[in-house]
Symmetry: D2
Subunit: 436 residues, 4 copies
């Protein structure tokens, strides 16, 4: 029996598949879906995986709803179901996708994780912006794939095709798993998948992201390190309104409470502990000019390199919020709406990624490891694998960005999709071959 | 020729008309329209006035667009036109209604002013709330007649019918004018009508409001005094966003700038000058938890009994806003979105109203004058009449309120409509008779 | 037996005594003493009263130490004793002076109250400033009679001489009491004298002040009304210091806590309740530039026309202080260091003073009553007399001020002393004569 | 001629001199002198250096008064002169001491720098505190050697004796310079000595400090790195006072301006640039509870690892201060009262120090280099030497501290003095020998 070479197979499938992956990316970009509501997106992913021959787990597998953060309001769910029509049904985590590809031969269990969700950002309409010029700019108001997750999904689907073909055509052993996580934005879905067992039994875990530290198309980072532990808090102040002209003293001013909290929260950022950050990202309070504001909402993000420091910071921030509420006799409710843990890519695995990239010769600047400086809830999955003795890396893929992440004119070079598929597939093959 | 008695005529028309006025009020309540966008409402008012035999001026008469505050965004106008369909066309001030009723005999020119607009308040849906129980709660989301202007319009239309009939049936002399002002909420439309000449040539001006100092059905105040001069400022801060984890120092934080402004603006309220008030009624800033907020908007209301003190306060508040913006390197744009002047009802006219109320015997508690404590842009029209030697009063009509103004469960006793018509018509007759 | 006329006697004693009263005023001005430490001053007063024939109570009479606010530190007492040498000994309230003058005939018990203390103000040294030019500027560093209490003492001593002579020479009946209160500045001594019984049995109470609403020499106000209730709080924050470069996060920042408290306390001032005022008069925190400040002290004054409103405001302010401390994990201790109650002069008594002033013909502008706008702890004594059925007034004496109260260049026209003696003595006589 | 061994000579002089150096340290500790006013201290140093045979430059040599920060007020100078009596005369920099020791043989010019000044700290009086128990606690109120500079002076004087003897007794070549710098606390004197040429011609520069990163007696750090650039700003706000009860609106509140500045300055600390720190170390504002505060003073310290970042931070902080002043219509004056530059010890020199320490065998924990985390104005002298091609190191000497720096119970183990002399003298010898 003639066994094809894995690298040749990878080349062939990519040559054949790239146009459809770009096409998929554009379809997703046209109809972006916010976190937890990736109804159409996950359906498309499931269909593609089934078509490639992967064993797809039923919805809800590998997902612990109790550990999900920032779930949508019923009205948002309803609107999403209406938008997606016959494609849809919804429950927490139903958009998570988990699938396996088994070779029947010994080898490692290698998992890849991608994310599905878009952002509440209004897309640029100028013809400078390629999606607008080419007609695939978002048709959903104030919703956009402005962080490249449409590209991630395309890479994931492409990778699934490639790996299935490689397994079919070559003697490659081991086992592969692929995860498409909902609600990465806001750090809402990662813990639920880790707790749900999505990476149980996994030996090697690979997450990836277009851009970030690899904005240039010619950059690859084998593994990010020092990914920060973080928590996102939503603090709701409830005071009492009053006519600002007739009896202001009767009011319990939620705006002044929240403004005081915002200023004082920022004073917590000065710390010599590594990675400490405080950001009050949003404050909304009040209704009309002549009414003492009765309600306010703050969105706060805290980060630290070490979980113990984040715990300390979270206690301090909670104390500031409580005191600010008490100061103006407001009630306060704090919800955790997102959380990441700290994580670092393993040295050996990151080196493997970097070496594979070197061998492929497609990138000019290749770093084994680089400090991440931000947060990602893939960290929960990385930690879960690492704590059971496995290895994990978070790969940064050169993206050829034309603007910043989360901006209305964000866009990446679509050739990054096939390049990403090639790197990840090659790493997958190398990991199994190395083992054997 | 037998001439009917005015008071008998008033009684007759009220007996006949009251059900239709209540019906009009409920129709308006069902389809409330926000300030400047009273397209359907003004059309109904114009039709009713024409039907009663008043001479209705064409849209735009008595309105100076340059003096209008807080006009709507194009998208809001478009949505309103779509909602009103064939009834509509729009330009600034096109919802203002001005009409005259002339007797051809000597006498004073007596003007009445009502307001048309609803509020951005979501109406209560509980069956405790009469409009909900009886099926005329607002069908427009987050829009509600929560300050009784629907009742004012009904009173105005009723008053027009009554006066027309009185003039037809009795020998009453003089002339009457009726004004339906757009955009009273936010103090946006009054100055434009004063500057547009809506009360030029008017000898006696009467404004009115259900409730306020007359929440009880059995109260009438002949004329409010010490109506505060006020200004509403919308301050837009523009800084620069940045990734809060990777490079917070690059941002120019609009949230911190606006929070600092809010706290310091409130310190300006301590003044021994009469009527000084400061309220930051709304603050909105920021988007996501992990982004340094680049934009903020504050809505501020300042008041004073004397215009010179308001000028001083406005300069001080502007200084605080500018400094707060400079502190965090933000740009700042301040717009005046509403303005009232100070005014007081004339003693003689207020006494006339109170005496008429006494004679009618419908109210238990009648005050000639009472301090207003709040602001109303009828003040511009009052001042305009007073400065030319005329008299003005702002009448408060007992309303039987079941909740506070501007609340979702606001409602008034509909019998207040006919009672209001009776009082104002009787005052109108008395003013002409007294003169002759 | 020939009985002299009271008014003639008053004239004679004033002609004779005025130079010595001015001389006394200058001696006091040269050696001012702060509140509670009026050791030399009270000794001089006691000696003068004894010399005039008044019965002087022993030190401590009419004083309840438990009700004294803001007593000095031991080191301050020691320094004062050293400065005054053989003249001194000290305990709380030992500088209060209480004396009686009895006629043995029926009549009312009329009490006069003066205050003894100077201020921690550095006196002007320019020759524009009369005390500097004439050589009686304060020789005590940073201590000055900058509110005219030196003049008050001179008036009190002069009044005592005049009344003693009137009683000796005329048939005047009734009884007189004179109070020299320590620590009026800061509102510290008034309550202790009221609680100590200093005005028990008094029928008519007269307090007085040079200047304030009577800056011009030609003004007299018969009785101040609407004297505000007030409280002075000293809030001490205790956090923890830390090296600001090496481990700022270890600190518990008292400076940020107190700054936050200061800003938010000022937002409480906006109230429609009458007389509400909030002032953070002093903030001191921290030591060196490179140390996280561990301690802070705020001095706060709250006022209201009604005691119930002051209670509300005090609770709110306490809440703000406690929350600010909690926000930065500081401990907090709040002390009341001064307190006044609200009071108003009785109408009849104020009219008597005004009428007497009219009859004397020495002032051009005489008002019966005027709103005070500020606070004075004579209010405790006024209230105490009024609550037992007596009458009280707080008289404002034209002073010919050349600068503002509490300023280093404060000074008054010394002819105001004799004018004050004449007015108060004449009122005293009129009160007894009227009665009989 | 028999030439003694340097190390033997060092041992001998130390054995003989140690008691007198401890005695000197205790005399200095008893009579500490604040920065710029080290009149007696510098006189003692000069006398000791002359006695040891060093060539002492006249006062003012090697000092550029224009570059001095935070000079004392005239009254403070006068008080210091009075305290020191016949020993004293004063001008800026007159307490700086500069001396040379020449061998007449070739070799490097090696300079040592020590600091002279005490701190405004009240010394502990408990018998737990050795200086109190042994009777050499500070007799100057609120002034204390609480950072070990008394020990530094003793080390410097001891080192001078040892080196003089070594030069006399051995064939050692090269040249030595010793600097005793005034006003290290507050970073006030270093730049003036660098600009004044105090290290011109120096090849090797050694600064040192007891404790800091070497609190334990058994620790030596060969050279601190990453000493932070820093600036200390004194910001004076000048508003206008007003009676807080009668007309608060007339005031221009300096307390609110400075509190707002303090809170907002702390928000600048969040930066990913290395070494950024912001501390508002002191805020004083206001006088009495009932007066709107007219003046405020802030003491602010800013730091950064890179001078360019410090420049940026200083501009931002200045902007915040200016805006806060403008917000409350205050005038603002900002003075720089201290400044350091960034510096790092040279690797080779630090290694030399560490190796010498190893050879001496007196310390258990020896590090070549360690990040400093704080600021020191020796940085100006280090930079000056390095920029001309020389080498510099800042040595940390194990101190056996019993409490923290700048605290009232600070104290060090006096055996650290002789140990410090031994290390520095040995390094000096090694540097010359290595060269030859």
């Amino acid at each position: 029996m003639v066994v094809a070479s894995p690298s040749r197979t990878i080349d062939d499938v990519i040559k054949r598949g790239e146009p459809s992956w770009i096409s998929l990316r554009r379809a997703l970009h046209l109809r972006p879906e916010l976190g937890w509501l990736e109804i159409r997106t996950s359906r498309q992913v499931r269909d593609a995986l089934v078509a490639s021959g992967w064993q797809v787990w039923p919805p809800g597998a590998g997902f612990e709803p109790e550990a999900a953060f920032g779930l949508p309001e019923p009205a948002e769910v309803e609107a999403a179901l209406e938008r997606t029509g016959a494609m849809g049904s919804w429950e927490p985590g139903s958009s998570a996708v988990l699938a396996d590809l088994k070779t029947g031969k010994p080898g490692r269990n290698v998992a890849f994780r991608f994310d599905l969700d878009a952002l509440p950002v209004a897309e640029a309409t100028s013809t400078d912006h390629l999606p607008a010029r080419e007609g695939f700019a978002s048709e959903v108001p104030s919703t956009m794939h402005a962080c490249g997750h449409d590209g991630h999904v395309a890479i994931g689907v492409g990778l699934a095709e490639v790996l299935a073909e490689v397994v079919r055509n070559t003697g490659l052993g081991g086992q592969f798993r692929i995860l498409f996580q909902p609600a990465e934005e806001g750090a809402r879905g990662g813990l639920a998948m880790a707790r749900g067992g999505a990476v149980d039994g996994v030996d090697v875990f690979l997450g990836c992201h277009l851009g970030l530290l690899a904005t240039d198309l010619n950059v690859v980072v084998g593994g990010a390190v020092d990914m920060l532990a973080s928590v996102k808090l939503r603090a709701k102040f409830k005071g009492a309104s009053a006519h600002a002209g007739l009896e202001p003293e009767v009011g319990r001013n939620a705006l002044l409470a929240s403004a005081t909290a915002a200023l004082n929260l920022h004073t917590l950022a000065q710390s010599m502990r590594p990675g400490i950050r405080v950001n009050v990202g949003r404050l909304t309070s009040g209704t009309a000019a002549n009414v003492v504001p009765a309600e306010a909402e703050l969105l706060v993000e805290l980060r630290a390199l070490h979980v113990s420091d984040l715990d300390w910071l979270e206690r301090r921030a909670t104390g500031v919020l409580e005191a600010a509420a008490a100061m103006h006799r407001n009630e306060l409710a704090i919800d955790v709406v997102g959380r990441t843990t700290s994580a670092s890519s393993d040295e050996g695995l990151a080196r493997q990624v970097a070496e594979t990239a070197e061998q492929l010769g497609l990138w000019e600047h290749i770093k084994e490891r680089a400090p991440f400086g931000a947060s990602e809830d893939a960290s929960w999955l990385m930690r879960s694998v690492q704590e059971r003795g496995g290895e994990a890396a978070y790969v940064l893929l050169g993206a050829g960005l034309v603007s910043g992440h989360h901006r209305g004119d964000f866009d990446f070079d679509e050739s990054a999709i096939a390049r990403g598929v090639r790197l990840l597939a090659s790493v997958a093959v190398a990991l199994q071959e190395k083992r054997s």
